[in-house]
Amino acid sequence: MPAAAAASRAGLPVLEAASLVRDYGPVRAVNQVSFRLGAGEFLSVFGPNGAGKTSLLRLLAGGLRPTSGEVRVSGIPLTVGDRAARARIGILSHLSFLYGRLTARENLRFYGRLHGLDDLDSRVPDRLADVGLERYADSPVDTLSRGTVQRLAVARALLHDPEIVLLDEPYTGLDAYAAAMLQELLSALKDGGRTVVMVTHNLGRGLEVADRVAIQVRGSFVFEAARTDLDAAGLERSYRRAVEGRA
């Protein structure tokens, strides 16, 4: 962790949001959000339903065009429709994005082809091994448990070795054991030097893996802090204050 933090201080920001604003008609979902993340940095964004967390994530993924402001990946502005930039971003959600009737291997091979990878014969078994799923390689996904599917989804999100990983409520629907397993995989992301943004309701889990946290309410970041300045109780208090302060 200290190594990653040092790298980020030294190098260019990998992922940068500059005054991001997104309106849906008259509704402002994301309001003047700015941050810079270096390699190996992990940002957790908390907030109530409808705070604009998912919109923020979509903006970062280049799937939604900002009303104003921009997202920069390694200093280069990200434009919607820039499909090549997608190769540098991996997305993990509480939905697995996997096909139930295809096997674990077939799913990964499919996504590998979409990313234009050509070493799938070796890459897919390796990645299955990374998440401990070698023996499920040929099981259809709809025969696997929720936790196992989520591990496979991690392998899917990381298949193309993205520098940036975006996590959208990854703990939803997982039991305690599966969540702990996922927590381990997510911690490993940082050590791999990846830049991560996670949006979640889960204060405890979100704080545990993060280097930095932010609370988003009504579109804006109303609270930001480094992990080192904060404990679970402090975050809880700040969260309550931020959310209740919204009238």
Partner: protein, 233 residues
């Protein structure tokens, strides 16, 4: 354009349009000569043709504003497209009821599969689809985009639909005003009446259009106000 300005325009256009319609009906009932072969029912023509014209105009505006909306994402373009589509739906309904009334008498059958009749019926259904998609979209923004796509695709495919329906033999009268070779074939009084109808219906359409557009504008402002309010308190 400010809301007050839109309202003012809607009122002026509306007053002129209603006056025009009153004049039109006076002309139709008391002034214009009776057409020799079709007799008295031919007078429906002065309502039917203007409503058809307005329907096509509305369809064009919806498609153009829809295309521009997809390009520029300016909410005002979506309001305009939607307002025009609603006008098109209403005037299309007038056209589709006045047409068969006339035809039942003049041709002895209320409905024929004549190209322009078929075309306008199908176009009317495209408008219906336009509003069904807007109303049932799970995401309002997506609904606006999808409606715009329907408008644009409709405008692209409708000419092809028209060409294909032309394949079939036709009963419908040939163009009587824009007949390039022989000039207008209508008598002077009929032409004046028709032109009055076209003008009056167009004015009414734009009046309704402005009212509808103003309503969307108002809704938008209200939503904006709701968004700002809690922060102020």
């Amino acid at each position: 354009m400010s809301l007050a300005r839109i309202r003012w325009m809607a009122t002026v256009l509306g007053v002129l349009g209603v006056a025009g319609v009153l004049v039109l009906h006076w002309l139709v009932f008391f002034w214009v000569g009776t057409e020799r072969t079709m007799g008295i029912v031919q007078r429906i023509f002065y309502v039917h043709v203007p409503s058809a014209w307005v329907t096509f105009l509305a369809f064009g505006i919806t498609a153009l504003c829809g295309a521009a909306y997809l390009w520029l994402r300016d909410e005002r373009l979506d309001w305009a497209a939607q307002s025009a589509a609603e006008g098109g739906l209403i005037f299309g309904a007038i056209m589709l009821t006045s047409g068969p009334l006339w035809a039942a008498y003049a041709w002895g059958t209320p409905w024929t599969w004549e190209p322009r009749l078929t075309l306008t019926l199908l176009m009317w259904f495209v408008f219906v689809g336009y509003f069904l998609v807007r109303a049932s979209a799970e995401d309002r923004q997506a609904g606006k985009r999808m409606a715009a796509v329907i408008g644009v695709l409709g405008a692209l495919l409708i000419p092809l639909v028209h060409v294909s329906v032309l394949w079939f033999p036709s009963l419908h009268p040939q163009p009587v005003v824009l007949n390039v070779e022989e000039g207008p074939t209508l008598d002077g009084d009929m032409l004046i009446t028709l032109m009055t109808g076209l003008l009056a219906f167009t004015l009414i359409f734009f009046s309704v259009f402005c009212l509808r557009y103003g309503l969307e504008h108002l809704r938008y402002q209200r939503a904006l106000a709701l968004r700002e309010q809690p922060r102020a308190t």
